[in-house]
């Protein structure tokens, strides 16, 4: 028992220590205030390992991949494909060839909508989404069903921020071709029961796309255990560089799908009037990829795996629990959205009565506190809660409870400014 507890303690995150891996955390704002970065759901900070992976490519072996027979090109190709293998390991994909590198989660979803969607969605076909989707997992499907004359249906969200699975069940009776939902909400923080939802969808004969943009950085994700068909995420939210991201899909699906973009590298043979395609994943990676960024995402995957995703999840659950306890106590009148810490990731959206979230964010900025204000690319979800906008604090591995204290103090100052 004692041993077990020790092991468990040993695998806990030490956020204070790992903060030294993030150079930006030792910067200060124009008033000399240290950075309190609570906008990780928008994009995460980057550890040295990632910064240096990018810089190393740019400085030491910047060259194109796949087609070069010289040392630099072989080194670049090796690093690029190693990043693919690391990314596969992060989500336990059966094989690296099932990882398609893309710019971000948005591109991954558009790729599926164009390539799989335009071939498989026809007149009258239904796609089931949820009311809590990020625009990235909504608007591409709107465009698709407009073109193909299909239908969208939406799983509603309950007042406490959970998907209404009873309605989901009913919607599945429409025999949708595809069900697409977010693993974790970027506004409510809700972590959805994705495994169960996949099973239900498969039982109804639908394929499933999971938007993992807010999950992969924060918890263990195993696409095989989830049983998903498509899984997408962004590198820049998981400690990696902007420009990196991945689509995972089962080999048979990727092989059956037509290309999305066309150009160099994705072809096998090109003639003036016809071409055929390279094997996966190259079929979907037209042109010179963002070699530097994907190598950086590989380094980020390693960094997260080294920390241990269970430890990351524990850390962020505790932070969230702390925030949900401190904020209502210290900031009278604050309105919080979303479920209990047990069912949510490190995201806390809120409003102060009578104060627009833009003003909240602006005043916090003076104290070096960075939060997001607006609709967080979830306008329909805000409509659902009859909100014009909200303020959002979001956490990552480097977030510490002291920053939540700072937020509480900052919010009291905001109230003071408006009440004076």
């Amino acid at each position: 028992m004692a041993d077990l507890a020790a092991t468990r303690a040993a695998t806990r995150l030490d956020p204070h220590r790992l903060r030294t891996d993030f150079p930006i955390l030792s910067t200060a704002n124009r008033f000399g205030k240290p950075l309190v970065y609570l906008d990780s759901a928008a994009t995460s900070l980057k550890p040295l390992a990632v910064i240096e992976a990018v810089d190393g490519y740019n400085r030491e072996y910047s060259s194109n991949i796949h087609r070069g027979i010289y040392e630099l090109a072989e080194r670049a190709t090796g690093a690029y494909e190693a990043a693919r293998a690391k990314t596969a390991r992060l989500i336990n994909a059966p094989e690296p060839a099932e990882i398609v590198f893309v710019r971000n989660a948005t591109e991954a979803i558009n790729l599926v909508a164009y390539s799989w969607g335009r071939r498989n969605i026809g007149r009258g076909d239904t796609i089931v989404l949820t009311e809590m989707e990020h625009h990235a997992n909504l608007v591409p499907w709107q465009l698709l069903v407009q073109e193909k004359d299909g239908d969208l249906e939406f799983v509603p969200v309950s007042d406490d921020g959970l998907l209404q699975l009873d309605v989901y069940e009913v919607l599945l009776h429409l025999r949708p071709k595809l069900v697409a939902f977010t693993h974790a909400s970027n506004m409510l923080g809700t972590i959805n029961p994705v495994r169960h939802m996949v099973e239900m969808a498969h039982a109804a004969g639908a394929l499933v796309l999971i938007d993992g943009a807010q999950a992969v950085p924060h918890m263990p994700v195993d696409v095989q255990e989830l049983g998903a068909d498509f899984y997408v995420f962004s590198g820049h939210k998981m400690l990696g560089p902007t420009g990196s991201g991945a689509l995972w899909a089962r080999r048979e699906l990727l092989e059956a799908m037509p290309p999305f973009m066309a150009g160099g590298d994705m072809i096998r043979e090109v003639h003036l009037r016809r071409s055929d395609w390279n094997e996966i994943p190259y079929k979907f990676e037209a042109g010179t990829p963002d070699i530097a960024a994907e190598i950086g995402m590989g380094a980020a995957a390693d960094y997260l795996l080294d920390l241990g995703l269970d430890a990351v999840r524990d850390h962020e659950r505790e932070l969230t629990r702390y925030a949900l306890e401190v904020l209502p106590r210290e900031v009278p009148g604050i309105e919080l959205y979303g479920p209990a810490a047990e069912h949510r990731g490190g995201v806390v959206s809120f409003n102060l009565p009578g104060i627009h979230p833009h003003d909240v964010a602006q005043i916090l900025d003076r104290s070096g506190i960075c939060i997001r204000a607006g609709h967080h690319c979830t306008m329909p979800l805000h409509e659902r809660f009859d909100l014009a906008a909200s303020a959002r604090a979001s956490f990552n591995v480097y977030t510490i409870p002291e920053e939540i204290d700072a937020l509480a103090i900052g919010l009291r100052e905001v109230v003071r400014v408006f009440d004076r």
Binding site: H358, D359, G374, A388
Partner: protein, 150 residues
């Protein structure tokens, strides 16, 4: 400490001038800044090329509300030409605080919405004038409502 949240700005935010619905406006427009959820409707009563009355409704941040409050004070009694000639800088001078790039759209929403209301009105006038006789009453309420392109 807060350059932005001076007393008079908060005063205008808390008790905006000319806030409410104008009966029978001759021009009106609903502008929005979807990014923030700001949304404001500007209603004007124009007579003989002069802004006889103006009012606004809507919700938004302190900057956009104070801006609308200050702007409506400013343009009441001005000629349409004068109002049309107002630049973003004029409005920023009126607001009198330094606006960061990210908040510019909040600050300028009111002026943008007024400009749209006036443009729609002018277009309708032109049409009414052009379509000669008939029921071409140029004074019918132009409640053109739509999305601003800002």
């Amino acid at each position: 400490m807060d350059d932005l949240y001076r007393d008079y700005i908060l005063e205008h935010y808390r008790r905006p001038h000319n806030f409410g619905v104008l009966e029978a406006p001759t021009a009106s427009y609903e502008g929005s800044n979807p990014l923030c959820g700001d949304r404001i409707t500007m209603m004007l009563r124009l007579e003989d090329g002069v802004v006889r009355d103006v009012a606004f409704t809507g919700r938004g941040c302190a900057i956009s509300q104070a801006s609308a409050s200050l702007l409506t004070d400013e343009i009441k009694g001005k000629t349409v030409e004068e109002v049309e000639r107002m630049t973003p800088d004029d409005l920023l001078d009126l607001i009198g605080i330094e606006i960061s790039p990210a908040r510019l759209k909040c600050a300028l929403l009111s002026l943008d919405t007024v400009a749209h209301a006036l443009a729609d009105d002018a277009a309708e006038q032109a049409e009414a004038d052009g379509s000669a006789s008939g029921a071409g009453s140029a004074s019918g309420a132009s409640s053109a409502s739509g999305a601003s392109s800002a």
